[in-house]
């Protein structure tokens, strides 16, 4: 296992050679990966919105956005500009403070969760020991924001939508956490880097999706429900609730919900690719390829190619999953709220528990294959 390129080490060393003290050099480094990740997350919104519009159009045999930018790629920019210039209305009897804080509480945890998304051995903001658990605990803050938005709007539909959204997100958090727990049990650690490394030794055959097929399905269904994507977009079901907790929001405050939902979708896709699809690893291990070609894997240009390949693979897997969600959106009808809660509590939760038990049993029986 090669360690890959260490950008932080090289950067700090370069600054030290320029004459800066080492603490100052490290301080200069700290904001850079955060800023980069923020940009990646923001750009992913534009890509997701464009993909959503184009693939939806394809599914309905339309053309979709065409005139704004090449192939309509700048459509999301136009949407954003429109939202910025819209009037920012706070309803007369709304609770002004909670009305403003609500969207922020929904969006901030999603962006914070990008702390633990790895794009390579060293291409992660921090390799926290609690890794994936941080994402689970941060995503549990979101319902508070949804309740805040629903309550403060002073509107029946908003309150019902907010309560529904919170109920949905706390009921699907449990199967989600249990599915993650099964993966964590196999990789003996919560760190996202460890989880990917544990899958990467046999190329595509070693990915967790083959050892955790049930967990993968449970996780994917729960993640869709957490993101409020169709078929689980009940909190904003137009026929029943106008637009749910978003009803009274206008302008950029509505835009924050919009941004939050797309970043959350992207984040979930990235986490699925890390947990089940081998993260940044190529279907054939890079070490095998370099050994076959007779190249030293520690040469600088090979390492650069490996790192680039890692980023491309992570993004490719994530966008493949985004593509799948958009296809699902136009294939599956929306479920009713009672069906949704039944699915979560009576179907996914027991199956997730059985899956966890089975994983533990398999781990004890075949420690070699299930990470003993």
């Amino acid at each position: 296992m090669t360690s890959g390129i260490d950008l932080q080490g090289t950067f700090v060393q370069a600054l030290v050679e320029l004459g800066l003290p080492i603490t100052a050099a490290k301080t200069v480094w700290i904001p850079l990966p955060m800023l980069l990740m923020l940009i990646v997350a923001t750009v992913s919104i534009f890509i997701c919105v464009w993909l959503e519009r184009k693939i939806s159009a394809g599914a309905q045999q339309r053309i979709g956005p065409e005139y704004i930018g090449p192939l309509g790629a700048l459509q999301a920019v136009a949407d954003g500009l429109k939202l910025i210039f819209k009037a920012d209305i706070t309803p007369a009897k709304a609770d002004p403070w909670l009305f403003v804080i609500g969207p922020a509480v929904v969006v901030i945890p999603v962006f914070l969760s990008f702390l633990i998304v790895p794009f390579g051995q060293n291409l992660v903001i921090t390799d926290l020991g609690i890794g994936i658990f941080l994402w689970i605990s941060l995503s549990s803050i979101t319902p508070i924001g949804l309740l805040m938005a629903g309550y403060s709007s002073n509107n029946k539909y908003s309150l019902l939508g907010g309560l529904r959204a919170a109920a949905q997100s706390i009921s699907y958090e449990i199967p989600l956490a249990l599915a993650v727990l099964a993966v964590v049990m196999m990789s003996n650690g919560l760190s996202t880097i460890d989880i990917v490394n544990q899958q990467s030794s046999y190329g595509i055959l070693g990915w967790n999706i083959w050892r955790q097929p049930v967990g993968f399905v449970i996780f994917w269904i729960s993640a869709l429900a957490e993101c409020e994507r169709l078929p689980f977009d009940l909190p904003e079901a137009e026929e029943e609730l106008v637009a749910g907790y978003q009803t009274e929001y206008t302008g950029m405050k509505f835009g924050l919900f919009y941004v939050g939902s797309y970043v959350n979708l992207m984040l979930s896709a990235l986490i699925v690719s890390v947990l089940y699809l081998g993260g940044w690893s190529f279907p054939i291990p890079v070490e095998t390829i370099t050994a076959l070609l007779g190249i030293d894997a520690n040469v600088a240009w090979v390492q650069i190619i490996t790192a680039a390949l890692g980023i491309v693979m992570t993004m490719l897997k994530a966008y493949l999953l985004v593509f799948l969600t958009i296809l699902l959106r136009w294939t599956v009808p929306r479920v009713r709220i009672d069906q949704l809660l039944d699915l979560g509590w009576k179907f996914l939760l027991p199956i997730a528990l059985v899956n966890l038990l089975a994983t533990a049993a398999l781990k004890l029986t075949f420690p070699g294959a299930f990470g003993g």
């Binding site: 909670l98 020991g129 609690i130 549990s140 508070i144 309550y151």
Partner: protein, 211 residues
């Protein structure tokens, strides 16, 4: 520059820790006061989430990342959301009646709180705390906690799960009652809802004809 010379030079990490400690303390103290003193109960509930997050920040400062994440997951994500649900689903409309001599109750509460605060502070100051000098477990905390759960803390752990089971059964029994919709509640029994009469199922009773 003169101000900076008065302090011993802090390293960046220490400075950040000090500032975070001050900010978190401010959040927790002001937040808790808000939870108690605000008149709008929903605002109190939301502020409580902020206080819980502040406590989680303290755990991070103490190098206990896992406990911090668990604090956010359990207290903010579960307990606080349940409290909010409770407040928002209870549709109780009761006019606020001005009580005579309400200040007596408030003064008594204040005195009790001040007394408790004084008692606890003297206890904190006078008690000889056995502060561990061992380095924090950090990322290994999960293993340490797990080993404790299955050795010397096994009984409390199991008792807590039995308690949760009891709460679960109780919640199901409460939730399965069927209410008669649309009936107004008389003010005398304001705290009970009209309930459909329900025959109790007794095993082996003489009316049981399903032989």
């Amino acid at each position: 520059m003169i101000l900076a010379l008065d302090f011993a030079p802090l390293s960046l990490a220490e400075g950040v820790q000090l500032v975070s400690f001050a900010l978190l303390s401010l959040i927790i103290i002001v937040g808790s006061l808000g939870v108690v003193l605000l008149s709008n109960i929903v605002h109190s509930a939301f502020l409580m989430a902020l206080v819980f997050i502040g406590v989680a920040g303290f755990y991070i400062l103490l190098n206990a990342g896992f406990v911090a994440a668990a604090q956010v997951l359990v207290y903010v994500g579960a307990v606080n959301v349940l409290i909010l649900f409770g407040i928002m689903l209870v549709n109780k409309q009761e006019d606020f009646i001005e009580l005579k001599n309400a200040w007596v109750g408030k003064a008594a509460t204040g005195a009790v709180c001040a007394g408790l605060f004084g008692l606890l502070s003297t206890m904190v100051v006078s008690h000889p705390w056995a502060i561990s000098t061992a380095p924090a477990a950090g990322d290994k905390a999960i293993e340490v906690i797990g080993q404790h759960f299955f050795s010397d803390y096994l009984l409390p752990f199991e008792l807590a799960s039995v308690l949760l089971l009891i709460a679960l059964v109780g919640a199901i029994i409460l939730a399965r009652r069927e209410y008669i919709p649309g009936e107004s509640i008389s003010p005398t029994e304001a705290l009970t809802l009209p309930e459909r009469p329900r025959e109790l199922v007794a095993a082996g009773s003489p009316t049981d004809q399903s032989l």
